[in-house]
């Protein structure tokens, strides 16, 4: 037994280059070997990887942050596996960082200080559909779109639909309190999570919330949602099922002038219409998307709005008319209504592929995610163009206009010297401008490591102290995904869980 375990551990630790002993393969040092041996014993060799390649990949997500540094990577298959990993990590004084699909844009899944990474992708099952209570229990690794597909035969869906829904996981959505186009009317993830089974930092398992209207005590699942992996590992989630609307109308409104489009957004809201979604794209973005997805967006428009109203047929028709009317009064050059499901799907496909399509413009992008009061969109967009012009950069705007959630995408080529600095500078100005307008740092992507140091621009020391109390109530020793969200002065004192050693070289 001991021998096979040792052999398995060796395998898991990874191999050196065949026939070349001098290769600079990294820091799988002795402490790691003991840790890995325990992890292998706890959950089996096929569920642990500690080789350089696996760790390198577990160190990064979809953000531009590349300084993550993963320890051994585990692929738990059950809550019991997660408990076992958290126990082993605690015994070795190591932190734990959960990871979903790694589509996060704020570096939330980029582990700091070589923690044990728990990659939740193998826990991807739909556990139960409970139509009487309007909920489904799912494992955290289930992909958002797979869930909605599985629910389709029942006439219901899971409402939050991040643009990354084809890939991102429910666990990641819960951790980031993710939004999506349809969250304008339906609310973000927090409004759709009833209960979460969580493995806490002491390896105990607690169910936060329940299926009742108002669970007893503090709203712990509310406090957990959006905690970016820092309050525990979600191992099962009860999500609310939303009835499919009887009728849907999707409209594409195009404008000669960005500010007309922005004014239309404000006017729609002011008129007391709550569309399911109002998305906006500017011309550069439309061009990139058309090149990729041929969604039929007018390339000559300065901006387009994708507006969707849903509900019972009568109201949908009325709301649709009113929206078109408002658009016309705001100088829309065209208003097109999707004739059928196919056309509707195509219009949305364009929107959903926007971020990726940006890569056709430039190899790198930096996507910001601030929120501003939706009545100030016109002003804010003008300021963004001004900032970006001044820094000689390219910006593409594609965003959830209905709730003022901006996504200015700065497209650039990091290989051009000096570009990185200009991108950073412009990004900083956009964030500060948004805050000055009475906005928020992030509307759906989270703080992660990306915006940590901006937190005190938005919050006072007292506010941040309160936030760190929330975190510490869940995780007194700061063992879960340490180093995120709170600026360094406010994170836990016990950063002992973070390993200082950053191994040299790319395999570090």
């Amino acid at each position: 037994m001991a021998r096979t375990l040792a052999a398995a551990t060796r395998r898991v630790l990874g191999s050196r280059r065949r026939g070349d002993r001098s290769a600079a393969v990294p820091a799988t040092d002795d402490t790691d070997a003991a840790l890995v041996a325990d992890l292998v014993e706890a959950i089996g060799a096929d569920r642990v990887r500690a080789d350089a390649a696996a760790r390198y990949l577990a160190s990064r997500d979809a953000s531009i942050y590349k300084e993550g540094n993963a320890g051994p990577v585990c692929y738990p298959g059950s809550t019991a596996d997660v408990v076992a990993c958290v126990e082993v990590a605690a015994r070795h004084g190591r932190a734990v960082s959960p990871r979903g699909a790694g589509t996060g844009l704020a570096g939330g899944a980029a582990p700091l200080g070589q923690p044990v990474v728990l990659s939740m992708t193998r826990m991807d099952r739909l556990l139960e559909i409970d139509l009487d209570n309007g909920v489904a229990w799912v494992q955290p690794g289930m992909v958002n779109l797979d869930l909605s597909r599985a629910l389709a035969p029942h006439g219901v869906h899971y409402a939050p639909d991040p643009s990354s829904q084809a890939a991102c996981t429910i666990g990641g959505n819960v951790a980031n309190n993710s939004g999506g186009p349809h969250c304008l009317a339906y609310g973000v993830t927090s409004a759709h999570v009833l209960a979460v089974e969580v493995v806490m930092s002491d390896a105990s398992v607690v169910t936060l919330g329940d299926l009742t209207a108002e669970p007893p005590g503090y709203d712990l699942r509310g406090a957990f949602v959006g905690s970016e992996g820092m309050c525990g590992i979600a191992t099962a989630v009860a999500v609310r099922l939303t009835r499919n609307p009887p009728a849907v109308r999707t409209m594409l409104l195009s404008f000669d002038d960005v500010s007309d489009a922005a004014a239309t957004v404000s006017a729609i809201i002011a008129a007391g219409i709550v569309p399911a979604a109002i998305e906006m794209m500017d011309q550069r973005c439309v061009t990139a998307v058309e090149d990729f997805a041929q969604a039929g967006y007018p390339r000559d428009a300065a901006a387009v709005l994708l507006v969707e109203v849903d509900g019972p047929a009568g109201g949908v028709a009325i709301a649709g008319e009113r929206v078109a009317d408002i658009a016309r009064r705001n100088q829309a050059i065209s208003a097109r209504t999707a004739a059928d499901d196919d056309e509707r799907a195509r219009l949305w496909k364009g929107r959903k592929s926007a971020f990726g399509a940006v890569a056709n413009v430039m190899p790198d992008y930096y996507l910001h995610d601030t929120v501003v009061p939706r009545t100030r969109l016109v002003e804010v967009l003008e300021r963004i163009y001004e900032i970006v012009d001044r820094h000689d950069l390219i910006v593409l705007n594609v965003f959830h206009a209905g709730d003022g959630n901006l996504h200015p995408i700065l497209a650039y080529d990091s290989r051009v010297p000096g570009t990185g600095e200009r991108v950073q500078a412009a990004g900083r100005e956009i964030i500060e401008m948004s805050l000055d307008m009475g906005g928020a740092l992030t509307g759906e992507h989270g703080i992660g490591v990306e915006k940590r140091e901006y937190m005190d621009r938005m919050f006072s020391a007292v506010d941040l102290d309160q936030q760190s109390r929330l975190r510490a109530s869940f995780d007194p020793h700061c063992r879960m995904n340490p180093g995120k969200v709170l600026p360094s002065a406010h994170s836990c004192s016990d950063i002992g869980a973070l390993r200082a050693s950053d191994a040299a070289g790319v395999w570090g």
Binding site: V274, P312, G315, G438, G443, F459, V462, Q467
Partner: protein, 308 residues
């Protein structure tokens, strides 16, 4: 970061830095979660609407404002909030009680209404949670934590709430002797109440849709207009939607009842027996209270775990 207005700083000064203290709202839910410990000083949250932005669909309001007064103001622009409205109840009290309106199907729960809260912490300082926008995930969600916390973690002075357009048409109807499940097909139902025999429904939305649903209901049986919701029995039970729909007065020794269908609240004649709570949840509640209120001065005697 905000400069706090005078009313708020005055409230903070009144709360002070030591001694047990709680906020007196409208006292409509005064005994929820226990009685105030003897010797607890009562303070009142400031009153008044700070800013209503109909085009933004938000309202900034001081916590001592009666919900009814707030809604009266919002109604001028055809809007309201998800807070329940009862004679004398305040905005702060409604949020701290965390009990949703009987129109929750249409308005959503109280927990989704709060966008930003300015509250006085145990040490007397003012903290701000959430953001001034309708969407925000900057940091941990203190707003959700505060809703339903009965003022045991912080005393709320001022809040930013989400508002909604009031339905173009609103009608209460009674459907005699119907299975409440049959009403599911009504998309505009904002409230479905069932007393074991009859179903009372609030329809709210575009007039065409409400009419549509009315004819759908008429097809189910005898459907008549009523003035409003029925008198609710005094005790509020909290359960799952499935339990509410299958509520049996005899089983629960609850007496006459009115169940909120699709939500999981039952108004019954007898109090709800204590709900079982996992030890891990009890422990977490304890830790939250300890961390947010180390001296234990905020609303001592009240405990959200003891809410029904």
């Amino acid at each position: 970061m905000a400069d706090f207005d005078e009313a708020l700083t005055a409230f903070a000064a009144e709360v002070g830095t030591d001694g047990p203290v709680c906020v007196r709202g409208g006292r409509t839910r005064w005994s929820l979660g226990g009685e105030a410990s003897p010797g607890t000083r009562e303070v009142q949250a400031p009153e008044g609407i700070v800013a209503f932005e109909p085009a933004e669909m938000t309202v900034r309001v001081r916590a001592g404002t009666p919900v009814a007064a707030l809604h009266e103001e919002l109604a001028a622009d055809g809007q309201r909030t998800a807070l329940p409205e009862r004679a004398g109840g305040t905005v702060g009290g409604a949020l701290m009680a965390g009990e949703s309106s009987i129109a929750r199907l249409g308005l959503g729960p109280v927990r989704d209404a709060l966008l930003q809260a300015r509250y006085v912490c145990a040490d007397g300082r003012i903290a701000s949670a959430g953001a001034g926008t309708v969407k925000n995930v900057s940091g941990f969600d203190l707003c959700r934590l505060l809703v339903g916390s009965l003022g045991t973690l912080g005393l709320v002075g001022e809040v930013l709430l989400r508002t909604f357009p009031v339905g173009e048409a609103e009608r209460w109807v009674r459907l005699a002797g119907t299975d409440p499940g049959a009403v599911r097909s009504c998309y505009t139902a904002a409230s479905v109440l069932w007393d074991g025999t009859d179903v009372l429904i609030l329809l709210s939305g575009y007039a065409v849709d409400v009419d549509d649903d009315l004819s759908r209901l008429a097809a189910l049986g005898n459907c008549e207009d009523v003035d409003g919701p029925p008198e609710l029995p005094p005790h509020r039970w909290v359960c799952t939607p499935a339990e509410a729909a299958a509520f049996d007065a005899r089983n629960g020794a609850a007496g006459p009842f009115v169940a909120e269908i699709g939500v999981g609240v039952v108004h019954a004649s007898q109090p709800q027996p204590p709900r079982p709570v996992e030890p891990g949840v009890v422990e977490l509640n304890r830790r939250f209270k300890e961390r947010f209120d180390p001296p234990g001065r905020l609303n001592p005697g009240r405990d959200p775990l003891r809410k029904p």
